[in-house]
Symmetry: C2
Subunit: 573 residues, 2 copies
């Protein structure tokens, strides 16, 4: 009777949740009700019990806290105070929580866009909103190889073609394009060629890419390597990352499947292997030999993994290296291929930085493998399975936002290729505009074409600009106490070693960070320069590094790094 | 001694592989050597043994065949014939084969681009190369919702903006754009707005998308649903497919994780769950009720799965339906949300066809959920976790090739969202041009804008065109013996039931196909019209369907389907 009276007397802002039968219906979370068995209740609700009815008030109650003040007696004068009891509400667990979602996703680490990157974006937003309290006036995102975010201008020929692909009606006004806007005739021709072959850039292409674009890539591979290429084994992808994702999905079969991955490495590999619940088999690059591959180290890592029951299936090579910048000599590539052939490992050659080479010459795995096959007919190289990846995001193209790339396969089983085809089909196709940029990258204007002079000028200026910035940054690192850095060879990064004092290491530990994370966080706070700690890429135990791009223009940011470094060293001496 | 003599005497086209120690080094495959223990040898090599040396000749030997003719005695006159022995070469297994790659990828089925699609592309290539032997002159790809591959023209406003985004230097010639090319001022304004906010479309954006674009989406959601939206919970994706891939990656934790998926369904869901090695918990849509959801059926499926030990975590709803075209009434959505709230299931609302609605009105899950929360404050709806997906590929936009889309989250745990953020970071960002198209889709010209009249004209013409084609196709199906089809309600598809005779079923069986696959294969061969068998989407045991888009222009292809159907029915009567 008391219960019924209470229910009818409650004012509307409170909600009757009881009796118990109905509470159970809420079906979500738990609350320890002081008068009875545990009841399930949503979190952050202020609750109390009147007789056997449970009430909730629309006021937040923090996790686990006790509602010490029962609802004011004055509001419920007809209820004896002993009938009013309070409960402790425990937070309702949402259906999805860190503890019950995919643990392999949770395990994955991806430092390039991690805590430091997020913090740098916060700083950027504060600066944009007029915050003057920071010790810097600009955030320099040296953490990502994102050329066009910094200074790099897109290549005019590429973008003029794309503008027509996006709005083909421009071709109804050729005279305006040519005379009014300065488009060259080869721009129009290329746009027409692509439109003829793909229809609309708004239509899905074939799953593996537009056939005519695959043919252009095959011709490029032939020119580059001196061996014919078959478009049937070329797959367009949304950047090289998506290609790596596809290949690792196919390559790994169960938790014992392992892939040899260089350390330091671009964390895409370890992150993807985490998500796939497969094993990364790390092999260290040789810092003393300018981050080259050491066959001995690879063999050691391979044998160790095998002895631990890992089914090692493939070896990843990043050449030129990310984050190291190392550009491999042909002899290193030959050794790796011989090892892969002997142990029957699939080779994944990540060659997205193939045009970012300052020292020596880029050698493609494809070219070296086909040469070995030619030199040694019928020998062990014949059946080697090689996947080579390329991208429009790097090099002088730098079109990251367009998400274009491709991989080409040599020696893969036909049935396996059918599975790769099916896998890429599920995501339908790579972005078609990105595919077109791949075509433009592999088939740029050549001498004699109307667009060639400007193309060459722009291309060379970007290349020289990168080289100059790399050299300037390298010179600065050489000048810094406790910093060692190899000469810039290629890619977009330097990966200096830093030596910090025991006091700095101690301070890092207190903050729950590794010393390199600690260093990079302080650098960001002091200068607005965002780099990535070496631990994000893997580094030999006891060694510390950070990765920085050399894309940002000017020298001021380099000076600010030097100044910060001096102060950091002094502070923790 | 004989061995040494043999080795030195062999002519160059043959290759000395022995002695055994070196053979082992080949490390690849097996060959049963008649004189000794099994030796490993690559396949397709003609081999023979001279004394204890193993030789290979560069001539293919087919799998398992016996080299019955030893090498001609005349070439090796100094070797006694008894010293020449032959071996049987077994094929070398490449490192990767169907039997050892990721079994979950192998298990995945994706019929939309399966055997029929591949065959249709072969036909298309034959026609292009002048093959006159086929009984049709054109291939109609009615298997994929790919509007711009068929007849749909892109919206002018969208593409004009994109042309400027690709080549911002166009803005240096505003007069040419406005007067020479007919761009309206709002085109230029929008392009400037986007460029100001994203810098270059060639730069990576933030992982979850360009902040200003997320803000535009939030405003769209507010207008559409009448409830505020928070850009922080919006994630741009490469089409809705990539969003589904992300969400399923997070949602599934181990092989017992299950997701309720409508049957028939778009095979992205089953394929992705296969790859993730998680369980699809199928619930049948109610064909008799125009493919609506039946709560009873959902509950049955849910309880059955739970009793089998499946940890059911979410329910997928495709509304409007693919392949069914069904557009759900609000009452169905309310029931689903109540069920999801009671059983604490995450709701995945795939709403990519939200503007393709011919009958009734589209109700978003978001709007209905927020209404339920408002109507029932403090009740079970408060904590519901809802992910809604949208895309630029469908509707009157139809920009499939640009791979744009987004999902927005309600009620997700903060830590879970952090994992979603990390997961999308690994692939860096959605294509930026696709993101811009999302912005244009959710924020199109409105009354009073210079581009509005043309936008409206184009939009309405596409809508009416689709409706007319749907109606014409529906009328044709109604007219066909043994075919039943619901009235077109939405999306881009019809999904008629077909009844085939026992003789046709028998003929299908003989070909190793399901009767619907058999029917669709014959249809393609006879007419060039490519549709997808119902088994590709799932269908009730014993029922047969196919899915066809109604995107192709003209009526000729519809007549050819009718004609084929008549002949098929007669043939197998």
């Amino acid at each position: 009777m008391a219960a019924a009276a209470a229910a009818s007397a409650v004012a509307t802002p409170s909600l009757i949740l009881g009796p118990a039968k109905r509470i159970t219906g809420l079906g979500r979370s738990t609350a320890n009700v002081s008068t009875g068995p545990a009841q399930r209740l949503r979190p952050n609700r202020r609750c109390f019990i009147l007789a056997k009815y449970l009430f909730a008030i629309n006021t937040p109650l923090s996790s686990g806290s006790l509602l010490t003040t029962p609802p004011p007696q004055s509001r419920y004068p007809h209820i004896a105070s002993r009938q009013i009891q309070t409960i402790v509400a425990e937070p309702r667990m949402p259906r999805l929580s860190l503890g019950n979602i995919n643990p392999h996703v949770v395990e994955a680490k991806y430092a390039v866009r991690g805590e430091l990157a997020v913090k740098s974006e916060e700083y950027r937003a504060r600066l944009r909103n007029g915050d003057n309290s920071l010790p810097f006036s600009e955030v320099i995102s040296a953490n990502i190889g994102n050329p066009q975010q910094l200074d790099q201008k897109p290549i005019t020929f590429f973008r003029q073609v794309l503008s027509i692909l996006e709005y083909p009606k421009l071709l109804d006004n050729e005279k305006v394009l040519l005379d009014g806007l300065g488009y060259k005739p080869d721009v129009l021709e290329r746009a027409k060629f692509l439109l003829k072959n793909l229809g609309s850039v708004g239509a899905y292409s074939a799953s593996a890419g537009v056939p005519a674009i695959k043919e252009s890539i095959a011709k490029f591979l032939e020119r580059r390597d001196g061996f014919p290429a078959d478009p049937a084994h070329i797959y367009l992808s949304a950047g090289a990352s998506s290609g790596v994702n596809t290949l690792l999905h196919i390559l790994t079969a169960d938790p014992t499947s392992g892939i040899l991955v260089p350390i330091p490495q671009y964390p895409l590999y370890t992150a993807s292997l985490s998500v796939l619940n497969a094993r990364c088999v790390p092999y260290y690059l040789d810092e003393a030999a300018n981050w080259g591959t050491s066959l001995e180290t690879i063999k050691e890592a391979y044998n160790k993994a095998k002895s631990e029951g890992t089914d090692v299936r493939a070896i990843v090579i990043i050449n030129p290296g990310n984050p190291t910048g190392a550009s491999l000599p042909e002899s290193d590539i030959r050794s790796v291929l011989q090892f892969a052939a002997e142990e029957q490992l699939v080779v994944l050659a990540d060659e997205v930085y193939q045009t970012n080479v300052f020292v020596g010459k880029f050698h493609s795995f494809r070219q070296v493998l086909l040469t070995l096959q030619k030199e040694n007919p019928g020998d062990i190289y014949d059946g080697v399975e090689l996947a080579s990846l390329h991208s429009i995001s790097k090099g002088m193209v730098g079109e990251c936002g367009h998400r274009g790339g491709y991989f080409d396969l040599i020696g893969f089983d036909k049935e396996v290729e059918a599975q790769i085809y099916k896998f890429v089909s599920i995501m339908l196709c790579a972005p078609v505009i990105g595919q077109c940029l791949v075509e433009l990258m592999v088939n740029p204007p050549v001498k004699g074409d109307p667009s060639y002079p400007l193309y060459k000028e722009e291309y060379d200026a970007i290349f020289e600009g990168l080289r100059k910035r790399a050299t300037a940054l390298y010179a600065a690192f050489k000048d810094m106490e406790g910093v060692e850095c190899g000469e810039p060879q290629g890619s977009m990064y330097l990966f200096p070693t830093i030596h910090v004092s025991p006091r700095a290491a101690e301070a890092a530990k207190e903050e729950g960070r590794t010393p390199d994370e600690f260093y990079c966080m302080r650098l960001l706070e002091a200068t607005g320069v965002c780099v990535v700690p070496g631990s994000g890429f893997g580094q030999r135990e006891g060694s510390l590094h950070f990765r920085t791009t050399f894309l940002a223009p000017g020298t001021e940011w380099v000076s600010s790094i030097k100044k910060f470094h001096r102060e950091f060293m002094d502070k923790y001496r």
